[in-house]
């Protein structure tokens, strides 16, 4: 078998393959012409075109050619390496070639998809082929490193997504730390009364799962805590968690709540965040009776003892467990995990921004979350629909799409508002007998049994007006409108503008990324889409993966979604983490940088530049050192090094310069 012959003139023997990608590439580029051109390039021993290079026969072609023609390098001219570089490296390995001796040319995204002129696109494909052939000659054989995976998992966020992911992982025998920034887990779901479309009680299905988290031997639950810092890499993350002071020892408190009764404030008088400000609480409080963990906490902003140091501390004196500790300080704890599930959820649109609806101006205007608390038996009115002035509403208008489908606020459809508006319409009618109007633009009920739920509401006599409300006003044009909130809307199905007087307006606010989504994104080194939700690796095929290995996302932090979809996604994220753990190790890409110690001047330019903390300075040797396990191959250090002593695998000067010379040569 000829290893080297006159045809390649002593150069390594290159196999060149160009893909038609159906008509994706061949429709715009003359594939045969590029193949013929490549066949004549120095070093090319064989050149072929094939309809789908990524198919099994396509890969087989490469593997068998390696033996048949004694190939030492492979160039594949096809789609983005992001998609198939791994495919062709594997094909090369199958044929007995080191997988890093493969180079891909992207003539789909970079040529056929972005050009319309066939001749120029073909010329461009030839230029790129020439550059790749010149470059690949310099590719060295490289080996992937294996590192073990830490089987412990961190779950961030204790809403239904985080709860479900943590339980799934814990049930599989993995040790999980669940970190939640609020004092209790449960998230938004804990605020709801009923869930659509089945109308089963949210607490009845959620609280058993909350208790299971607390009781599970494999779960460590850290509430009132936030992730501060994440270091390391897939399989081996070091995470710093900030633990905020509750001023109550969590291990001692049993949640008997006698301290709350004993507090020197006889009546609750402070803003109750859990009840959306509709109720009041004392400085020592618990969010709701089934809060998990069932532990009270003290608010330093309102507690007399913490503010002034002068209080009778009746709370502490009635506590027979001696749980109070006013000297508690914030502290940080470090944990080691191999993978991370982010389930940080969403926030709702700030209804005050849409001034035309009068939220904050007219007391009869409510957000949907507030109404969730009003219809909830454990809420501030014990489930009675009472307005802020104590009246019972006789007519209620629900405005859909507040902060959704609007270029002025959020462009996207928030997916859940149509359905929760139907649910609230049903509950309001059931609890109060009021006339209920739904003002919608398009009714979106695409889930299992959702359309049937809409049909049920139609039958219940709830009014549906198709139109976006322009204004909620207290300007009356007739005696019937006096003292009412008037909603101006076009009934678009009738083509007639209407004024509808009501007592209560409910704003169905949309779902947005959390306020700190950008900070969290940076902390975990993942991406956000243009709207600010966390970016999945692939919208269809990798919906819970991120571009950072070992970090997974679940629930509404990735985009608006309802409870069934959230739970499904949380299960998927847990499964991805389990797959990583059970593989036992990860292979690291060898495209890392290294320091040629003899040439390093010790200037330290590279040290602060590394975004991954992989570059350190060896004080004894006065030289830079790179930890190749931490290095992600971004190349910043190599580019910045003034003495040229840092080199990067696959991006060596010889490789890059040959590629440039290749693309410029004609």
């Amino acid at each position: 078998m000829p290893k080297k012959d006159h045809k390649t003139n002593g150069l390594p023997r290159v196999g060149f393959y160009i893909c038609h990608c159906g008509s994706n590439i061949a429709g715009t580029i003359d594939v045969a012409a590029v193949r013929e051109y490549a066949a004549g390039l120095p070093g090319v021993a064989v050149a072929r075109d094939y309809k789908y290079m990524c198919s099994d026969p396509g890969q087989e072609l490469i593997a068998s050619d390696i033996e048949k023609y004694g190939l030492e390098r492979i160039v594949v001219s096809a789609c983005s390496p992001n998609l198939h570089e791994e495919t062709f490296r594997k094909a090369a390995a199958k044929g007995g070639l080191n997988p890093f001796r493969v180079q891909m040319v992207n003539i789909r995204e970079h040529a056929s998809w972005v050009h319309t002129d066939r001749a120029s696109a073909t010329e461009k494909a030839k230029d790129l082929a020439r550059a790749a052939v010149a470059r690949v000659v310099h590719h060295r054989a490289l080996e992937r490193k294996r590192v073990p995976v830490d089987p412990n998992v961190l779950v961030v966020g204790g809403g239904i997504a985080g709860i479900h992911a943590a339980l799934t992982l814990a049930n599989a025998g993995k040790k999980v730390t669940l970190v939640e920034k609020e004092a209790t887990i449960g998230g938004h779901m804990a605020l709801f009364d009923k869930t659509f479309p089945t109308l089963d009680c949210a607490a009845c299905i959620l609280t058993p799962k909350m208790s299971a988290v607390k009781a599970h031997p494999n779960i460590r639950l850290w509430t009132w805590s936030e992730v501060e810092k994440v270091e390391g890499y897939v399989g081996n993350y070091k995470v710093t968690v900030k633990r905020k002071p509750r001023y109550v020892n969590e291990d001692l408190c049993v949640g008997c709540m006698e301290c709350i009764d004993a507090c020197v404030y006889k009546e609750p008088k402070f803003h109750d965040k859990f009840n959306q400000g509709l109720g009041k609480r004392k400085p020592v409080y618990i969010d709701f009776p089934q809060a998990t963990p069932k532990v009270v906490l003290v608010d330093p902003e309102t507690c007399l003892q913490l503010k002034t140091g002068k209080c009778q501390k009746k709370c502490a004196s009635v506590c027979d467990r001696n749980a109070f500790d006013f000297g508690q300080k914030e502290r940080s704890e470090e944990i080691q995990v191999g993978s991370i599930v982010l389930a940080t959820g969403f926030r709702t649109y700030d209804a005050k921004k849409d001034k035309q609806y009068g939220y904050g101006r007219y007391p009869g205007v409510y957000t949907a979350l507030e109404v969730e608390r009003l219809v909830n038996a454990s809420g501030p009115t014990s489930g009675e629909i009472k307005l802020r002035d104590g009246r019972e509403p006789k007519a209620v208008g629900i405005i859909h799409c507040v902060g959704s489908r609007d270029e002025k606020s959020n462009k996207w459809c928030s997916r859940v508002c149509c359905m929760y508006s139907l649910k609230l319409a049903h509950l309001i009618k059931e609890h109060s007998g009021a006339e209920v109007y739904n003002f919608y633009i398009d009714m979106r009920a695409p889930g299992k049994a959702y359309e049937e739920f809409y049909d049920k509401l139609l039958g219940e006599g709830v009014h549906f007006v198709r139109g976006r409300v322009a204004e909620v006003t207290d300007w009356a044009v007739s005696p019937e409108e006096e003292g009412k909130l008037v909603m101006r809307v076009e009934d678009t199905l009738a083509g007639i503008v209407r004024r509808i007087p009501v007592d209560m307006v409910v704003l169905s606010t949309g779902l947005e990324p959390q306020a700190d989504a950008q900070e969290v994104r940076r902390r975990f080194n993942i991406g956000c889409g243009s709207e600010g939700f966390f970016q999945e690796r692939h919208p269809k095929l990798a919906p819970v993966n991120t571009f950072t290995d070992g970090v997974y996302i679940a629930g509404a932090c990735q985009g608006p979604r309802d409870i069934p979809d959230t739970v499904a996604q949380a299960g998927a994220a847990a499964a991805e983490a389990l797959a990583l753990i059970d593989a036992g190790h990860v292979e690291l890409e060898p495209n890392t940088s290294a320091v040629a110690e003899a040439e390093c001047s010790g200037c330290k330019t590279c040290v602060p530049l590394c975004p991954y903390g992989a570059v350190s300075f060896d004080e004894a040797k006065r030289k830079a050192a790179i930890n190749e396990v931490l290095c992600k191959g971004c190349g910043v250090c190599a580019a910045a090094c003034p003495s040229g002593s840092i080199t990067q695998n696959l991006f060596g000067d010889d490789e890059i310069f040959s590629e440039i010379e290749g693309v410029l040569a004609k």
Binding site: K355, Q356, G358, E471, T473, D474, W475, V477
Partner: protein, 286 residues
Amino acid sequence: MRYQYFPGCSLKGSGRAYEESFLAVFRALGVEVRELEDWNCCGATAYMSVDETKSYALAGRNLAIAARDRADVMAPCSACYLVLNKTMRGLGENPELKRKVTGALKAGGLDYREGVKVRHPLDVLVNDIGLDEIRKRVKKPLSGLKLASYYGCQIVRPFATFDDQDDPVTMDRLMQACGAECVDWPLKTHCCGGSLTGTLPDAGLRLAYIILNEAKKRGAAALVTPCPLCQFNLDAYQGQMAGKFGRPNMPVLYFTQLIGLAMGLDADELGIGRGIIPAQAALAGR
């Protein structure tokens, strides 16, 4: 501080009191205001229905004249304020339109340049001069005077540059700085009827009446406005409204007139007597 001043046709005619009070207030504040040389009509809303490019050229001529001086331009009339701003944006967004308009202006020996700032006196008073300064200048506070502040449409729509589109507050804050009280009401930016009061009175007068009637229901003694067309519709047509809907009998004043009064300027100098509905009773001897 120095500004250019674009009066527009109304301030030289039916809105004369607006010009008188506007100039008097800025004179008293020690701010130099110079009328734009040989300005022409901005085109208002009507001309846009006849010819789009010429509308932009009409406004463009004024902007070209204004560009000779670096001082900001104050346009007290809402329509002028909007049309001049809309023209700058329109020319900025549409290169083809800009080519045509600048070419035509060149044929008239005019040089269109970007960067002119056209501002409303409300914006200048609140953001350049400041409420503290106004408060300091108040000699006769308007205490006890209940006003409905009515902004009309085109100051905040479609471009909300210095105030909120649905609930503007700059004029309320100015009136409060002068010691007056502003009623809380939802019609601040509703339509006064525009030119329909003349062309289609059944529709136009109804809109004007709704505003006056609601202000009255909320306990206002007078309406205050920054727009000459609003003032005209709401003041001059009250007699015609009487036959159709009822007689509101509500004086309608310019915000500059009330600031002037609070600063102790003479009522005649401020054109207070030019209202069709007399304001004397509401102002109770001020």
